[in-house]
C-alpha cells in the first residue's frame, strides 16, 4: 500500500511540473468555463424572473412557485436585468393591464415558455397543466447543453487516463522502469499506483465541471459511481497510449486518434436513431455517454446505471484481456 501511494504521489508531483501534463489537467476546467457562456441558463439552479414590483403579491407568489423572483421598480430596471449574461425573464404589465414578457432573445426554452404558461394560468385561473421540473436546468430542452456537458465529462475522464500514459512515456524515455524493477515493487503495485491518478483526477474534474456549469440537481452518488466506472476506460486507454508511444510527440498523436474514436461514438449516439444504437454497443464511450445523459436528465434509474456500468466494465475487461500481454511486456 505504501508503495502504491508513493507511485501515485510521484506521478502527481511530476505531472504538475510538466508543462504539457499541467495543461492537460487545466484544459477541462478552461473548456468548461468557456462552455458556460454558451449555455447561460445552466448557471442558475432554477428559473429566474425579474418581476415588476408594482404587480400584485399574488402574481409574484405564483412566479415564486417556479423559480427565483427579483423585484424591480421600473421597466427600465427590468430590461437592464434581462440583458445580463444569465437567463432571466422579465415580467410586467402594460397600461392596458396586459402581461408583458421581456426577453433578450437568447434564453433557453424554459425561460421563454414557462413564464407564458404561468401567465396563462394566472389569467385563466387554471392549474398549470404542464409537467415541469425546477431542476431541469433547461438540459431537457437544450441538447447542446446536455451533449456539451457530457463531452466535457468524457474529455475529463480520458485526460485522467492520458496523464497516466504520459507518465509511463516519461518512465520509458528515462528508463526509470528498470530501476523500479530491481526493487521489491511488483507490477501489480505499479499498475494500481499509476491508475489512482486516472481515478482521482476525473472525479475532481467531473464535479468541478458540474459545479462550474451550475448543475447541482443531479444524483451525486450516481455521478460518482458512473465516473469511477468510466475511469476504467480512461485508465486502460492511458496504459495503451503509454505503452505504444515512444515519446510525448507520438503520445499526443495517439491521443488524437483516441479522441477521434471517442467523438465518432458520440456523434453516432446523437445522430443515429435509437433503433440503430446497437451498432455502438461495442464502444465503451457510448455507454459512458448514455449513462451520463440519463444522470444529467434525471431519467436514469439505478437499474439502468448498473446495466451501463456492466457494459463498460465488461468491454474494458475484454480490451484489457486482449492487450494484457502487451501491457505486461511493455512494462518489463
Amino acid at each position: 500500500m505504501r508503495r502504491i501511494l508513493s507511485i501515485f504521489k510521484r506521478d502527481i508531483l511530476s505531472s504538475f511540473r510538466d508543462y504539457i501534463i499541467l495543461y492537460m489537467i487545466i484544459a477541462p476546467i478552461l473548456l468548461t468555463i468557456g462552455f458556460r457562456f454558451f449555455i447561460p441558463s445552466a448557471q442558475s439552479a432554477g428559473l429566474q424572473f425579474a418581476v415588476d414590483a408594482k404587480l400584485d403579491t399574488e402574481i409574484v407568489n405564483e412566479f415564486k412557485k417556479y423559480g427565483d423572483v427579483e423585484l424591480y421598480g421600473t421597466v427600465d430596471e427590468i430590461k437592464t436585468r434581462v440583458e445580463n449574461i444569465d437567463d432571466i425573464a422579465g415580467i410586467t404589465k402594460n397600461e392596458n393591464g396586459e402581461f408583458v414578457l421581456i426577453l433578450q432573445g437568447n434564453e433557453a426554452h424554459d425561460t421563454k415558455e414557462i413564464p407564458k404558461m404561468i401567465i396563462r394560468e394566472i389569467i385563466s385561473n387554471e392549474d398549470l397543466n404542464v409537467e415541469f421540473k425546477v431542476n431541469s436546468l433547461g438540459l431537457e430542452e437544450s441538447p447542446v447543453a446536455t451533449i456539451g456537458t457530457i463531452s466535457l465529462i468524457l474529455i475529463a475522464i480520458l485526460i485522467g487516463g492520458i496523464i497516466i500514459g504520459f507518465n509511463i512515456i516519461e518512465e520509458k524515455e528515462a528508463n526509470t522502469l528498470k530501476a523500479l524493477n530491481v526493487t521489491p515493487m511488483t507490477k501489480f503495485e505499479y499498475i494500481i499506483g499509476k491508475s489512482i491518478t486516472g481515478l482521482i483526477l476525473p472525479i475532481i474534474h467531473v464535479f468541478l465541471i458540474l459545479w462550474i456549469l451550475g448543475i447541482t440537481e443531479v444524483d451525486n452518488t450516481m455521478v460518482l459511481i458512473m465516473t469511477l466506472a468510466s475511469s476504467l476506460v480512461g485508465i486502460v486507454v492511458g496504459f495503451v497510449v503509454g505503452i505504444i508511444s515512444s515519446n510525448q510527440i507520438t503520445g499526443i498523436a495517439n491521443m488524437k486518434i483516441i479522441f477521434l474514436i471517442l467523438s465518432l461514438t458520440i456523434i453516432g449516439a446523437i445522430l443515429l436513431p435509437q433503433s440503430k444504437h446497437f451498432l455502438l454497443y461495442w464502444a465503451p464511450p457510448y455507454w459512458i455517454f448514455t449513462g451520463f445523459k440519463g444522470i444529467l436528465l434525471n431519467t436514469a434509474t439505478w437499474g439502468n446505471l448498473i446495466n451501463y456500468i456492466g457494459w463498460i466494465i465488461g468491454l474494458t475487461f475484454i480490451i484489457y484481456i486482449i492487450l494484457r500481454g502487451k501491457i505486461k511486456k511493455g512494462l518489463a
Binding site: 508513493s6 530501476a179 526493487t183 515493487m185
Partner: protein
C-alpha cells in the same frame, strides 16, 4: 553470496546465445570484477541476476534465494547502479531518492546523507533533469545504496567522472567492501578492476575465459615480459617481449648478442594485456 551455474541466455530464444554456459561464485564481502569487450554478455548476465531478464537456462541464486523466483527479500538485499543514468528528471535529487526509498521494506539510508557522500549536497533541491551527466551518474550510484544492499551491482561506476570524483567513488566502494558488502562490478576499465577487485572474470563472446585474482593473473601471465629499448638504424625503438614466446625470445637473444640494447626492464603485464592474451581480442 552469489552462485551462478551454467547460465545461458538467448534474446531470440534459439541457439543464438548471448551468454553461453557461465558459471561462477562470489563470496560474501568480495569485489568481483566482470570484464569483457562490448557485446561480451556482461550486461545480459547482470540483467538476469537482477531479475530484469528472465532466467531461461541454468541456475543462479543470491544469498540462497533462487533468482528464477525472485522474492521481495531478494530485491531488498540487492542494489543496482545503472551505467546509463535513469532518473526522474522533474524530481529533485532528494525527491528521487525519497521516492525510491519508499519502495523497499528494509531499513533505508537517509537520502541527504547519501547525496552528501557522493558530493551532491549542493544539488539536493535541484531538478535531476538539470544535473550534469556526471552528477546524474552519482545520483544513480547513491540511489543504489539506499537499501544498504548486501549484494551491490555496479555497472561502469567510474566512467565519465573527473579524477577527483572518480577517486571519491572508488573510496566509497572500498568502504562498502570493508563494511562487508559484496560487490559485482562490471567494467571495461582494467585499472579500476586491478585496483578494486579481489577477483576478476574475463568474459568474451558469452563465455568466461578465466577467473582469478588480478595478482595471480599477473604472476601467471605477466612476469615473463621484458621491456627493451634499443637502437636500430640510429632510431630508438621500444618493445615488449615475452620470455616464453619463442619468436620473442629469439629476438631478445639477437638484440643481446648484437649489443643494441640501451635499457631493459622486467615488466608486469597489465590486466588489459593479459586479457588480450587470454581472449585473443582487445577490450574496446
Amino acid at each position: 553470496m552469489l552462485k551462478v551455474k551454467n547460465l545461458y541466455h538467448s534474446y531470440t530464444k534459439d541457439d543464438n546465445y548471448a551468454v553461453k554456459g557461465i558459471s561462477f561464485e562470489i563470496k560474501k564481502g568480495e569485489i568481483f570484477g566482470f570484464l569483457g569487450p562490448n557485446g561480451a554478455g556482461k550486461s545480459t548476465t547482470q540483467k538476469i541476476l537482477t531479475g530484469l531478464l528472465p532466467l531461461q537456462k541454468g541456475e543462479a541464486s543470491i544469498a540462497g534465494i533462487d533468482v528464477k523466483k525472485p522474492t521481495e527479500k531478494l530485491f531488498n538485499l540487492i542494489g543496482v547502479s545503472f551505467e546509463h543514468p535513469n532518473i526522474y528528471s522533474k524530481l529533485t535529487g532528494y525527491e528521487n531518492l525519497e521516492f525510491y526509498k519508499k519502495l523497499f521494506s528494509v531499513p533505508t539510508e537517509d537520502p541527504k546523507v547519501l547525496l552528501k557522500m557522493v558530493g551532491l549536497e549542493d544539488a539536493v533541491n535541484k531538478k535531476a533533469g538539470d544535473y550534469s551527466k556526471g552528477m546524474k551518474q552519482r545520483l544513480v550510484f547513491a540511489r543504489s545504496l539506499i537499501n544498504n544492499p548486501q549484494l551491490w551491482f555496479l555497472d561502469e561506476p567510474i566512467s565519465g567522472l573527473d579524477p577527483t570524483t572518480a577517486s571519491n567513488i572508488k573510496d566509497i566502494i572500498k568502504k562498502k567492501k570493508d563494511e562487508g558488502t559484496t560487490i559485482f562490478l562490471t567494467t571495461h576499465n582494467m585499472h579500476i578492476a586491478d585496483e578494486l577487485c579481489d577477483r576478476v572474470a574475463f568474459i568474451n563472446e558469452g563465455k568466461i575465459e578465466v577467473i582469478d585474482s588480478p595478482r595471480n593473473l599477473k604472476l601467471k601471465y605477466g612476469e615473463q615480459l621484458v621491456k627493451v629499448e634499443y637502437k636500430e638504424n640510429n632510431k630508438l625503438k621500444r618493445e615488449r617481449l615475452s620470455l616464453i614466446n619463442d619468436k620473442d625470445r629469439d629476438k631478445l637473444n639477437k638484440l643481446v648478442n648484437e649489443g643494441k640494447i640501451e635499457t631493459i626492464h622486467s615488466q608486469e603485464a597489465t590486466l588489459e594485456e593479459i586479457f588480450i592474451k587470454v581472449t585473443g581480442r582487445g577490450l574496446k
